[in-house]
Symmetry: C2
Subunit: 322 residues, 2 copies
């Protein structure tokens, strides 16, 4: 087999496009970041994505003929097998878009796509906190809560590429309504949205003057709740700890179902630190089976915002090496 | 490759040993059933297991030299890779027993073991309700609630062979205590034990004279609750429906995590029929993601009490064909 070629990874998000060129070993040779401007519509976004890839390739000083292909991490739901973005809520107007075909036509190289949480899981497996694992579960903690599952070193997508919806384990019967239509899901209790909802209720109820002052006229975000907690606001502190507690109850189920070698926590809510992750990890360790706890490494993600793009790039490398 | 040889499957349970000889296609050629008499200790039980296998082989008219090996379905926890039964609660005194070695020494053929829920899942995959699937989840509903997971046609055991503890998803925060030490697990709310506990409370509280009469001096079982419900006792009816409701909440999480092609429900509680399974399946279908629900077949197990032994036998066939 010849020397593995450089690969391109793209993280296509609702607000930004991030492209990188990397070696098969994950060394980044060039990058580009630009706003998605999703409101300009599908074709404009795809054009910008291709421009972003070309820019990263320019920085890496590689040509189209030299790369093995382009892997794209896209918001779910999508269908990796057909290469179609089926209808992501944060890319308005995208409905059954054959993204791999369109980008492949524009660039003349092989293209694949994978849903963002699965791509990030694969990135962490190859270059981050999951190196050396066969089975791992990656949980992304942000506005929502998602997950990616790696089994035997490969992404497990399930029957329709929808596996890993870890935010939608029910943990509180008749709990708060969730975006999925159900009630009491992990996402409805432990996500950034859940923290913001509880914070708004605290402001409305006059229970946290500090949070009210920090937020001003805008609805309070998870970040603001952390600020208030750091400044000693006990209500804000409780909101974050409570969310961490619920996350922990969800992790118990995950650990008992998947018995993974590593449980990797990623996403923006890592910024909430120990106030959030402390109770989550404690409850997970206390609640799951002893053997399962003994055999799992619970750890934070290492690749940050690059996980999705690096994972998508690694998928291209893996395909080339088959 | 030569003609696949007949295989032996054994279901070693806390109360009975069931052995069968089958063709690689799952046709049963001979069977034996006898009590485990676990109280007589490990060596007596292993002797009885070997006798049972020999009896089934006699009925099938095959000799030790003609079979490919013996697969044993054992109560968890166990370690299939090392062939060790680590410490099943219903085989008292068994602690780190090298069962495959002991049976192999006694019989002079290859032996493997697998935990009972995983073996049953594998049996259903090959010969029962899961035929043709790549990914399936099998849930066993009895005194406790367990599960077996098949991914890409193979048993998924996780890091330590403990994956699939589906009964230990938390669905009710601060719910009733569970045998696992946690609270509010599916098993604590939807199992035979949970139904019996609620029934005992109803009898104690004087809420179900019919159940009290049926039970007499003994604690009411799930079976008695069904009898009372069938005779029109509304409290008993509610106990079963409520358990089904909780089972449904657990199934939502399972479906959203695994996105399986089939969800197979097995075990003794199937006898509770629609009163139990009706709400469970309805809630699962309503609560899981549309795509996941569209792509899953939710179905009852087909192999009944033979699933574990047939699955263990199929594992021997699969090993022979590798």
């Amino acid at each position: 087999m010849s020397e593995p070629r450089p690969v391109v990874g793209v993280d296509l998000g609702g607000t930004k496009i991030f492209s990188l060129v990397a070696t098969a070993e994950g060394q980044v040779l060039g990058e580009d970041r630009r706003p998605t401007q999703a409101e300009e519509g599908r074709d404009a976004v795809i054009g910008r994505l291709v421009d972003s890839v070309r820019r990263a390739m320019g920085e890496a000083n590689v040509t189209t003929g030299e790369i093995a292909g382009v892997g794209i991490s896209t918001p779910g739901p999508c269908d990796p097998e057909r290469g179609v973005v089926t209808g992501p809520p944060n890319l308005p107007g995208w409905r059954d878009v054959p993204l791999t075909q369109l980008v492949s036509d524009a660039m003349g190289v092989p293209v694949l796509l994978e849903n963002d949480a699965a791509a990030a899981a694969y990135g962490e497996l190859h270059f981050g906190a999951g190196q050396g694992c066969r089975h791992l579960v990656y949980v992304t903690l942000g506005t929502g809560i998602g997950g990616g599952i790696i089994i035997d070193g490969r992404i497990y997508g399930g029957a329709s590429g929808a596996a890993g919806e870890i935010g939608h384990l029910v943990i509180v019967e008749d709990g708060p309504p969730c975006g999925c239509g159900n009630r009491g899901c992990v996402e409805a209790l432990a996500s950034g949205l859940a923290i913001a909802r509880e914070a708004a209720a605290a402001v409305r109820g006059g229970r946290s003057p500090m949070l009210a002052e920090l937020a001003g006229d805008a609805p309070p975000t998870a970040e603001l709740v952390l600020q208030a907690a750091t400044r000693g606001d006990s209500v804000s502190r409780e909101i974050i700890e409570r969310a961490g507690h619920y996350l922990g109850l969800g992790l118990v189920g995950l650990l008992n179902c998947f018995n993974p070698e590593a449980l990797i926590l990623g996403g923006g809510l890592l910024g909430l630190g120990d106030l959030y992750l402390g109770p989550a990890v404690r409850i997970a360790r206390e609640g799951a089976f002893d053997q399962v706890v003994a055999d799992v490494r619970i750890t934070e993600a290492k690749l940050g915002g690059r996980a999705g793009a690096l994972g998508a790039a690694a998928l291209i490398s893996a395909r080339e090496q088959r």
